[in-house]
Protein backbone atom coordinates (compact mmCIF):
# COMPACT_ATOMS: atom_id res chain seq x y z
CA UNK A 1 0.00 0.00 0.00
CA UNK A 2 1.16 3.51 -0.87
CA UNK A 3 0.00 6.78 0.69
CA UNK A 4 -0.18 10.18 -0.95
CA UNK A 5 -0.86 13.40 0.93
CA UNK A 6 -1.97 16.72 -0.53
CA UNK A 7 -0.37 19.35 1.66
CA UNK A 8 -2.50 22.09 0.08
CA UNK A 9 -5.70 20.37 1.15
CA UNK A 10 -4.50 19.36 4.65
CA UNK A 11 -5.93 21.41 7.53
CA UNK A 12 -3.53 20.11 10.18
CA UNK A 13 -6.15 18.35 12.28
CA UNK A 14 -3.56 15.74 13.26
CA UNK A 15 -5.98 12.81 13.00
CA UNK A 16 -3.50 10.85 10.88
CA UNK A 17 -0.77 11.20 13.52
CA UNK A 18 -3.23 10.03 16.13
CA UNK A 19 -4.24 7.02 14.04
CA UNK A 20 -0.85 6.03 12.64
CA UNK A 21 2.12 7.86 14.10
CA UNK A 22 4.56 5.45 12.45
CA UNK A 23 3.36 6.58 9.04
CA UNK A 24 2.48 10.25 9.51
CA UNK A 25 3.89 13.31 11.23
CA UNK A 26 3.12 17.02 11.22
CA UNK A 27 5.67 19.64 10.22
CA UNK A 28 6.25 22.75 12.31
CA UNK A 29 3.42 24.31 10.32
CA UNK A 30 1.07 21.54 11.50
CA UNK A 31 0.67 20.21 7.96
CA UNK A 32 0.97 16.49 7.22
CA UNK A 33 4.30 14.84 6.51
CA UNK A 34 4.25 11.27 5.21
CA UNK A 35 7.06 9.32 6.89
CA UNK A 36 6.50 6.06 5.04
CA UNK A 37 4.97 6.57 1.59
CA UNK A 38 5.47 2.86 0.99
CA UNK A 39 3.57 1.61 4.03
CA UNK A 40 5.02 -1.52 5.63
CA UNK A 41 2.41 -4.27 6.05
CA UNK A 42 2.46 -4.04 9.85
CA UNK A 43 1.24 -0.42 9.67
CA UNK A 44 -1.19 -0.88 6.80
CA UNK A 45 -4.27 -1.16 8.97
CA UNK A 46 -3.43 1.97 10.95
CA UNK A 47 -2.64 3.85 7.75
CA UNK A 48 -5.97 2.83 6.25
CA UNK A 49 -7.72 4.14 9.35
CA UNK A 50 -5.86 7.41 9.00
CA UNK A 51 -6.95 7.78 5.37
CA UNK A 52 -10.57 7.03 6.28
CA UNK A 53 -10.44 9.39 9.27
CA UNK A 54 -8.83 12.38 7.55
CA UNK A 55 -11.36 15.24 7.89
CA UNK A 56 -10.04 17.27 4.95
CA UNK A 57 -9.66 14.43 2.45
CA UNK A 58 -5.95 15.20 2.03
CA UNK A 59 -4.87 11.55 2.13
CA UNK A 60 -5.08 9.06 -0.69
CA UNK A 61 -4.38 5.37 -0.59
CA UNK A 62 -2.95 3.59 -3.60
CA UNK A 63 -3.21 -0.15 -3.38
CA UNK A 64 -0.59 -2.30 -5.03
Amino acid sequence: MKIEADRDVCIGAGMCVMNAEEVFDQGDDGIVVVLEAEVPPEHAEAAARAVAGCPSGALRRIDD
Binding site: I11, G12, A13, G14, M15, V17, M18, N19, E21, Q26, D28, D29, G30, I31, R49, A52, G53, P55, S56, G57
Partner: protein
Amino acid sequence: MTETLQDEAREAPTLPLHMRRDGFDPVPDMAAMRDDEGVREVDTAFGMPAFLVARHADVKAVLADSTRFSNESRRAFDAPGSPELSDEERERMRAGNLLGVDPPEHTRLRRMLTPEFTVRRMRRLEPRIIEIVDDHLDAMEKAGAPADLVADFALPIPSLVICELLGVPYADRAEFQERTSKLLDISLPMDERMDLGRESREFMADLVARAQAEPGEDMLGMLVREHGGGNDGDLTTDELIGIAGLLLIAGHETTSNMLGLGTLALLKHPDQHALVRDDPAAVAPAVEELLRFLGIVHSGIPRTTTEDVEVGGVAIPADSLVILALAAANRDPRVVPDGDRLDITRDAAGHVAFGHGVHHCLGAPLARMEMRIAFPALLRRFPGLKLAVPFEEVGFRAFHFIYGLQSLPVTW
Protein backbone atom coordinates in the same frame (compact mmCIF):
# COMPACT_ATOMS: atom_id res chain seq x y z
CA MET B 1 -31.18 25.60 42.23
CA THR B 2 -32.13 29.25 41.61
CA GLU B 3 -30.89 28.81 38.05
CA THR B 4 -33.45 26.04 37.48
CA LEU B 5 -36.24 28.24 38.82
CA GLN B 6 -35.18 31.08 36.55
CA ASP B 7 -35.08 28.72 33.61
CA GLU B 8 -38.62 27.60 34.31
CA ALA B 9 -39.93 31.11 34.89
CA ARG B 10 -38.53 32.27 31.58
CA GLU B 11 -40.82 31.90 28.62
CA ALA B 12 -38.98 29.21 26.77
CA PRO B 13 -38.96 29.22 22.97
CA THR B 14 -39.72 25.96 21.20
CA LEU B 15 -36.64 23.85 20.91
CA PRO B 16 -35.79 22.76 17.36
CA LEU B 17 -36.03 19.00 16.77
CA HIS B 18 -32.27 18.45 16.51
CA MET B 19 -31.75 19.97 19.99
CA ARG B 20 -34.49 18.00 21.75
CA ARG B 21 -33.13 15.34 24.09
CA ASP B 22 -34.33 12.76 26.46
CA GLY B 23 -31.46 12.68 28.95
CA PHE B 24 -28.41 11.76 26.83
CA ASP B 25 -30.43 10.71 23.80
CA PRO B 26 -31.85 12.60 20.83
CA VAL B 27 -35.64 12.31 21.19
CA PRO B 28 -37.34 9.35 19.43
CA ASP B 29 -38.82 11.73 16.79
CA MET B 30 -35.31 12.82 15.80
CA ALA B 31 -34.11 9.23 15.51
CA ALA B 32 -37.18 8.30 13.47
CA MET B 33 -36.62 11.25 11.13
CA ARG B 34 -33.00 10.09 10.58
CA ASP B 35 -34.02 6.49 9.97
CA ASP B 36 -36.98 7.30 7.67
CA GLU B 37 -36.62 10.50 5.63
CA GLY B 38 -33.05 11.46 6.53
CA VAL B 39 -33.55 14.99 5.19
CA ARG B 40 -36.52 17.17 6.17
CA GLU B 41 -37.54 20.76 5.47
CA VAL B 42 -38.00 22.46 8.84
CA ASP B 43 -39.24 25.81 10.14
CA THR B 44 -36.72 28.26 11.49
CA ALA B 45 -37.00 31.74 12.87
CA PHE B 46 -35.03 32.96 9.86
CA GLY B 47 -37.81 33.07 7.31
CA MET B 48 -36.12 31.11 4.54
CA PRO B 49 -36.02 27.42 3.67
CA ALA B 50 -34.03 25.23 6.03
CA PHE B 51 -33.28 21.55 5.75
CA LEU B 52 -32.33 19.25 8.60
CA VAL B 53 -29.87 16.52 7.56
CA ALA B 54 -29.46 13.54 9.91
CA ARG B 55 -27.87 10.53 8.21
CA HIS B 56 -24.20 10.03 8.95
CA ALA B 57 -23.19 9.74 5.27
CA ASP B 58 -25.19 12.84 4.26
CA VAL B 59 -23.83 14.90 7.16
CA LYS B 60 -20.27 13.98 6.18
CA ALA B 61 -20.92 14.76 2.52
CA VAL B 62 -22.25 18.24 3.37
CA LEU B 63 -19.40 18.99 5.76
CA ALA B 64 -16.82 17.83 3.21
CA ASP B 65 -18.13 20.24 0.55
CA SER B 66 -17.32 23.80 1.58
CA THR B 67 -17.88 25.07 -1.97
CA ARG B 68 -21.57 24.25 -2.25
CA PHE B 69 -22.28 24.46 1.50
CA SER B 70 -20.96 27.77 2.77
CA ASN B 71 -20.29 28.85 6.36
CA GLU B 72 -20.66 32.52 5.46
CA SER B 73 -23.86 33.96 6.85
CA ARG B 74 -26.14 35.91 4.57
CA ARG B 75 -27.56 39.24 5.62
CA ALA B 76 -31.03 38.28 4.40
CA PHE B 77 -31.06 35.44 6.91
CA ASP B 78 -31.01 37.54 10.08
CA ALA B 79 -33.49 36.24 12.58
CA PRO B 80 -36.47 38.47 13.38
CA GLY B 81 -35.69 40.56 16.42
CA SER B 82 -31.99 40.78 15.68
CA PRO B 83 -30.85 44.38 15.86
CA GLU B 84 -29.78 46.31 12.80
CA LEU B 85 -26.03 46.34 12.41
CA SER B 86 -24.00 48.74 10.33
CA ASP B 87 -21.86 47.17 7.59
CA GLU B 88 -18.81 48.26 9.53
CA GLU B 89 -19.87 46.58 12.76
CA ARG B 90 -20.95 43.47 10.87
CA GLU B 91 -17.55 43.24 9.19
CA ARG B 92 -15.77 43.77 12.53
CA MET B 93 -17.74 41.03 14.26
CA ARG B 94 -17.08 38.64 11.40
CA ALA B 95 -13.31 39.20 11.31
CA GLY B 96 -11.24 36.29 12.52
CA ASN B 97 -14.25 34.01 13.05
CA LEU B 98 -13.02 30.81 11.44
CA LEU B 99 -16.48 29.27 11.70
CA GLY B 100 -18.02 32.09 9.66
CA VAL B 101 -15.73 32.11 6.62
CA ASP B 102 -15.03 29.80 3.68
CA PRO B 103 -11.78 28.97 1.91
CA PRO B 104 -9.56 30.63 0.84
CA GLU B 105 -10.02 33.12 3.70
CA HIS B 106 -10.59 30.27 6.13
CA THR B 107 -7.44 28.51 4.93
CA ARG B 108 -5.38 31.66 5.47
CA LEU B 109 -6.55 31.99 9.09
CA ARG B 110 -6.45 28.31 9.93
CA ARG B 111 -2.89 27.90 8.64
CA MET B 112 -1.72 30.49 11.16
CA LEU B 113 -3.21 28.43 13.99
CA THR B 114 -2.42 24.84 13.00
CA PRO B 115 1.18 24.96 14.34
CA GLU B 116 -0.26 25.64 17.81
CA PHE B 117 -2.44 22.52 17.88
CA THR B 118 -0.19 19.79 16.53
CA VAL B 119 -0.18 16.44 18.29
CA ARG B 120 3.44 17.07 19.29
CA ARG B 121 2.65 20.51 20.70
CA MET B 122 -0.20 19.00 22.73
CA ARG B 123 2.15 16.40 24.22
CA ARG B 124 4.31 19.23 25.51
CA LEU B 125 1.28 20.59 27.37
CA GLU B 126 0.55 17.22 28.95
CA PRO B 127 2.49 17.67 32.24
CA ARG B 128 0.83 21.01 32.91
CA ILE B 129 -2.64 19.59 32.22
CA ILE B 130 -1.96 16.69 34.61
CA GLU B 131 -0.92 19.23 37.24
CA ILE B 132 -4.07 21.33 36.72
CA VAL B 133 -6.28 18.24 37.00
CA ASP B 134 -4.49 17.10 40.16
CA ASP B 135 -4.82 20.54 41.75
CA HIS B 136 -8.57 20.50 41.24
CA LEU B 137 -8.87 16.96 42.60
CA ASP B 138 -6.81 18.00 45.66
CA ALA B 139 -9.19 20.89 46.26
CA MET B 140 -12.24 18.64 45.98
CA GLU B 141 -10.73 16.11 48.35
CA LYS B 142 -9.82 18.80 50.85
CA ALA B 143 -13.28 20.38 50.78
CA GLY B 144 -14.87 16.95 51.17
CA ALA B 145 -18.04 15.45 49.72
CA PRO B 146 -20.45 16.37 48.31
CA ALA B 147 -19.18 18.47 45.41
CA ASP B 148 -20.62 19.99 42.27
CA LEU B 149 -18.54 18.29 39.60
CA VAL B 150 -19.39 20.98 37.04
CA ALA B 151 -18.29 23.95 39.17
CA ASP B 152 -15.36 22.20 40.86
CA PHE B 153 -13.91 20.12 38.03
CA ALA B 154 -15.55 20.09 34.59
CA LEU B 155 -15.68 23.85 34.04
CA PRO B 156 -12.50 25.17 35.73
CA ILE B 157 -10.04 22.66 34.21
CA PRO B 158 -10.59 23.41 30.49
CA SER B 159 -11.04 27.06 31.40
CA LEU B 160 -7.66 27.31 33.07
CA VAL B 161 -5.99 25.33 30.28
CA ILE B 162 -7.29 27.59 27.51
CA CYS B 163 -6.54 30.73 29.57
CA GLU B 164 -2.91 29.71 29.99
CA LEU B 165 -2.56 28.61 26.39
CA LEU B 166 -4.13 31.74 24.96
CA GLY B 167 -2.86 34.28 27.48
CA VAL B 168 -6.12 35.26 29.19
CA PRO B 169 -5.88 36.20 32.89
CA TYR B 170 -7.61 33.39 34.81
CA ALA B 171 -8.73 35.95 37.40
CA ASP B 172 -11.28 37.17 34.83
CA ARG B 173 -12.87 33.73 34.52
CA ALA B 174 -16.11 34.40 36.42
CA GLU B 175 -16.81 37.27 34.05
CA PHE B 176 -16.14 35.49 30.77
CA GLN B 177 -17.57 32.13 31.84
CA GLU B 178 -20.93 33.67 32.66
CA ARG B 179 -20.93 35.74 29.49
CA THR B 180 -20.03 32.82 27.26
CA SER B 181 -22.63 30.58 28.82
CA LYS B 182 -25.35 33.20 28.19
CA LEU B 183 -24.11 33.93 24.66
CA LEU B 184 -24.80 30.30 23.74
CA ASP B 185 -28.20 30.13 25.46
CA ILE B 186 -30.82 30.34 22.73
CA SER B 187 -33.63 31.00 25.21
CA LEU B 188 -32.26 34.49 25.91
CA PRO B 189 -33.51 37.42 23.80
CA MET B 190 -31.41 38.12 20.70
CA ASP B 191 -30.66 41.74 21.70
CA GLU B 192 -29.34 40.62 25.09
CA ARG B 193 -27.05 38.11 23.37
CA MET B 194 -25.87 40.76 20.91
CA ASP B 195 -24.94 43.02 23.85
CA LEU B 196 -23.04 40.13 25.44
CA GLY B 197 -21.24 39.59 22.14
CA ARG B 198 -20.15 43.23 22.14
CA GLU B 199 -18.95 43.01 25.77
CA SER B 200 -17.04 39.89 24.90
CA ARG B 201 -15.37 41.68 21.97
CA GLU B 202 -14.34 44.58 24.22
CA PHE B 203 -12.84 42.13 26.71
CA MET B 204 -10.81 40.44 23.96
CA ALA B 205 -9.84 43.80 22.43
CA ASP B 206 -8.18 44.79 25.72
CA LEU B 207 -6.22 41.54 25.80
CA VAL B 208 -5.14 41.91 22.18
CA ALA B 209 -4.00 45.50 22.82
CA ARG B 210 -1.91 44.26 25.74
CA ALA B 211 -0.42 41.46 23.63
CA GLN B 212 0.40 43.95 20.87
CA ALA B 213 2.20 46.22 23.34
CA GLU B 214 4.08 43.35 24.95
CA PRO B 215 3.71 39.98 23.22
CA GLY B 216 4.17 37.11 25.70
CA GLU B 217 4.99 33.44 25.21
CA ASP B 218 1.32 32.47 24.92
CA MET B 219 -0.70 31.98 21.72
CA LEU B 220 -1.86 35.60 21.50
CA GLY B 221 1.75 36.72 21.82
CA MET B 222 2.81 34.28 19.10
CA LEU B 223 0.05 35.45 16.75
CA VAL B 224 1.05 39.08 17.29
CA ARG B 225 4.76 38.35 16.78
CA GLU B 226 4.42 36.11 13.75
CA HIS B 227 1.29 37.37 12.01
CA GLY B 228 0.53 40.81 13.45
CA GLY B 229 3.24 42.83 11.74
CA GLY B 230 0.95 44.81 9.45
CA ASN B 231 2.34 43.18 6.31
CA ASP B 232 0.24 41.94 3.43
CA GLY B 233 -1.79 38.95 4.56
CA ASP B 234 -1.06 39.54 8.25
CA LEU B 235 -3.81 39.51 10.83
CA THR B 236 -5.66 42.77 11.45
CA THR B 237 -6.43 43.77 15.02
CA ASP B 238 -10.10 42.85 14.43
CA GLU B 239 -9.06 39.41 13.23
CA LEU B 240 -6.87 38.89 16.30
CA ILE B 241 -9.81 39.84 18.50
CA GLY B 242 -12.11 37.46 16.61
CA ILE B 243 -9.70 34.53 16.73
CA ALA B 244 -8.98 35.02 20.44
CA GLY B 245 -12.69 35.25 21.25
CA LEU B 246 -13.52 32.11 19.31
CA LEU B 247 -10.69 30.09 20.88
CA LEU B 248 -11.69 31.17 24.38
CA ILE B 249 -15.32 30.13 23.88
CA ALA B 250 -14.50 26.94 22.02
CA GLY B 251 -11.79 26.02 24.49
CA HIS B 252 -13.84 25.96 27.64
CA GLU B 253 -17.52 25.48 26.77
CA THR B 254 -17.01 22.26 24.87
CA THR B 255 -14.56 20.17 26.88
CA SER B 256 -16.22 21.27 30.10
CA ASN B 257 -19.61 19.92 28.98
CA MET B 258 -17.97 16.69 27.83
CA LEU B 259 -16.36 16.24 31.27
CA GLY B 260 -19.64 16.88 33.12
CA LEU B 261 -21.94 14.84 30.89
CA GLY B 262 -19.30 12.17 30.33
CA THR B 263 -18.88 11.62 34.06
CA LEU B 264 -22.65 11.33 34.46
CA ALA B 265 -22.77 8.80 31.61
CA LEU B 266 -20.05 6.71 33.25
CA LEU B 267 -21.79 6.87 36.64
CA LYS B 268 -24.90 5.46 34.94
CA HIS B 269 -22.86 2.55 33.50
CA PRO B 270 -20.94 1.06 36.47
CA ASP B 271 -19.11 -1.64 34.47
CA GLN B 272 -17.78 0.93 31.98
CA HIS B 273 -17.01 3.34 34.84
CA ALA B 274 -14.81 0.60 36.35
CA LEU B 275 -13.09 -0.05 33.04
CA VAL B 276 -12.08 3.61 32.52
CA ARG B 277 -10.88 3.75 36.13
CA ASP B 278 -8.88 0.53 36.13
CA ASP B 279 -7.62 -0.05 32.59
CA PRO B 280 -5.40 2.67 31.05
CA ALA B 281 -5.82 1.08 27.60
CA ALA B 282 -9.59 1.60 27.82
CA VAL B 283 -9.33 5.38 28.17
CA ALA B 284 -8.68 6.59 24.61
CA PRO B 285 -11.45 4.50 23.00
CA ALA B 286 -13.75 5.50 25.88
CA VAL B 287 -13.20 9.18 25.09
CA GLU B 288 -14.11 8.60 21.42
CA GLU B 289 -17.23 6.68 22.43
CA LEU B 290 -18.29 9.40 24.86
CA LEU B 291 -17.77 12.00 22.13
CA ARG B 292 -19.97 9.94 19.80
CA PHE B 293 -22.63 8.99 22.32
CA LEU B 294 -23.05 12.44 23.91
CA GLY B 295 -22.79 14.51 20.72
CA ILE B 296 -22.74 17.70 22.78
CA VAL B 297 -22.54 20.04 19.77
CA HIS B 298 -26.10 19.55 18.53
CA SER B 299 -25.53 20.93 15.06
CA GLY B 300 -22.55 23.25 14.67
CA ILE B 301 -22.79 26.15 12.23
CA PRO B 302 -25.66 25.90 9.71
CA ARG B 303 -24.43 25.85 6.11
CA THR B 304 -25.94 27.87 3.25
CA THR B 305 -26.28 26.30 -0.18
CA THR B 306 -24.49 28.29 -2.88
CA GLU B 307 -26.37 26.49 -5.71
CA ASP B 308 -29.21 23.99 -6.18
CA VAL B 309 -28.04 20.74 -4.61
CA GLU B 310 -29.27 17.28 -3.73
CA VAL B 311 -28.69 15.71 -0.33
CA GLY B 312 -29.78 12.17 0.41
CA GLY B 313 -32.05 12.23 -2.63
CA VAL B 314 -33.78 15.48 -1.60
CA ALA B 315 -33.50 18.56 -3.82
CA ILE B 316 -32.42 21.63 -1.88
CA PRO B 317 -32.56 25.01 -3.63
CA ALA B 318 -29.73 27.55 -3.62
CA ASP B 319 -29.66 29.95 -0.63
CA SER B 320 -31.19 27.44 1.76
CA LEU B 321 -29.97 26.79 5.27
CA VAL B 322 -28.72 23.28 5.97
CA ILE B 323 -28.71 22.19 9.61
CA LEU B 324 -26.68 19.11 10.50
CA ALA B 325 -28.04 16.86 13.24
CA LEU B 326 -24.63 15.74 14.51
CA ALA B 327 -25.85 13.90 17.62
CA ALA B 328 -28.37 11.87 15.62
CA ALA B 329 -25.81 11.16 12.87
CA ASN B 330 -23.45 9.77 15.51
CA ARG B 331 -26.03 7.08 16.28
CA ASP B 332 -27.01 6.28 12.70
CA PRO B 333 -27.63 2.50 12.64
CA ARG B 334 -26.18 2.42 9.10
CA VAL B 335 -22.70 3.03 10.57
CA VAL B 336 -23.02 2.29 14.31
CA PRO B 337 -24.79 -0.90 15.37
CA ASP B 338 -26.92 -0.34 18.47
CA GLY B 339 -25.81 3.30 18.58
CA ASP B 340 -28.11 4.29 21.43
CA ARG B 341 -26.05 2.12 23.73
CA LEU B 342 -22.89 3.48 25.35
CA ASP B 343 -20.12 0.95 24.75
CA ILE B 344 -16.63 2.23 25.44
CA THR B 345 -15.10 -0.91 23.95
CA ARG B 346 -16.45 -0.23 20.45
CA ASP B 347 -14.57 1.50 17.62
CA ALA B 348 -16.27 4.89 17.58
CA ALA B 349 -13.63 6.64 15.48
CA GLY B 350 -16.01 7.56 12.63
CA HIS B 351 -18.07 9.96 14.75
CA VAL B 352 -18.72 13.54 13.68
CA ALA B 353 -18.63 15.08 17.16
CA PHE B 354 -15.72 17.30 16.04
CA GLY B 355 -17.33 17.88 12.65
CA HIS B 356 -15.71 16.95 9.36
CA GLY B 357 -14.17 18.79 6.43
CA VAL B 358 -12.10 21.98 6.57
CA HIS B 359 -13.86 23.25 9.72
CA HIS B 360 -13.08 20.06 11.70
CA CYS B 361 -12.43 21.19 15.28
CA LEU B 362 -9.05 22.91 15.50
CA GLY B 363 -8.81 22.13 19.22
CA ALA B 364 -9.67 18.43 18.92
CA PRO B 365 -6.17 17.23 19.92
CA LEU B 366 -6.31 19.47 23.00
CA ALA B 367 -9.83 18.36 23.93
CA ARG B 368 -8.86 14.69 23.57
CA MET B 369 -5.79 15.15 25.73
CA GLU B 370 -7.72 16.95 28.46
CA MET B 371 -10.37 14.22 28.55
CA ARG B 372 -7.88 11.35 28.44
CA ILE B 373 -6.17 12.84 31.47
CA ALA B 374 -9.19 14.10 33.42
CA PHE B 375 -11.62 11.14 33.33
CA PRO B 376 -9.29 8.45 34.70
CA ALA B 377 -7.68 10.86 37.19
CA LEU B 378 -11.10 11.71 38.63
CA LEU B 379 -12.27 8.10 38.81
CA ARG B 380 -9.01 6.91 40.39
CA ARG B 381 -8.92 9.65 43.00
CA PHE B 382 -12.49 8.89 44.07
CA PRO B 383 -12.99 5.18 43.31
CA GLY B 384 -16.43 5.25 44.95
CA LEU B 385 -17.63 8.33 43.03
CA LYS B 386 -21.43 8.42 42.75
CA LEU B 387 -24.36 10.74 42.25
CA ALA B 388 -25.40 12.70 45.34
CA VAL B 389 -28.96 13.17 44.01
CA PRO B 390 -31.33 10.87 42.09
CA PHE B 391 -30.56 10.84 38.34
CA GLU B 392 -33.96 12.44 37.64
CA GLU B 393 -32.88 15.55 39.56
CA VAL B 394 -29.78 16.23 37.47
CA GLY B 395 -30.40 19.40 35.44
CA PHE B 396 -29.54 19.29 31.72
CA ARG B 397 -28.95 22.52 29.81
CA ALA B 398 -31.68 22.13 27.22
CA PHE B 399 -31.50 25.54 25.55
CA HIS B 400 -27.79 25.73 25.13
CA PHE B 401 -26.06 25.62 21.75
CA ILE B 402 -23.77 23.02 23.37
CA TYR B 403 -25.48 20.31 25.42
CA GLY B 404 -24.39 19.87 29.00
CA LEU B 405 -25.32 19.95 32.66
CA GLN B 406 -26.26 22.84 34.92
CA SER B 407 -24.62 21.07 37.84
CA LEU B 408 -23.63 17.56 38.84
CA PRO B 409 -23.84 16.85 42.59
CA VAL B 410 -21.52 13.96 43.42
CA THR B 411 -20.26 12.25 46.55
CA TRP B 412 -17.65 9.56 47.25
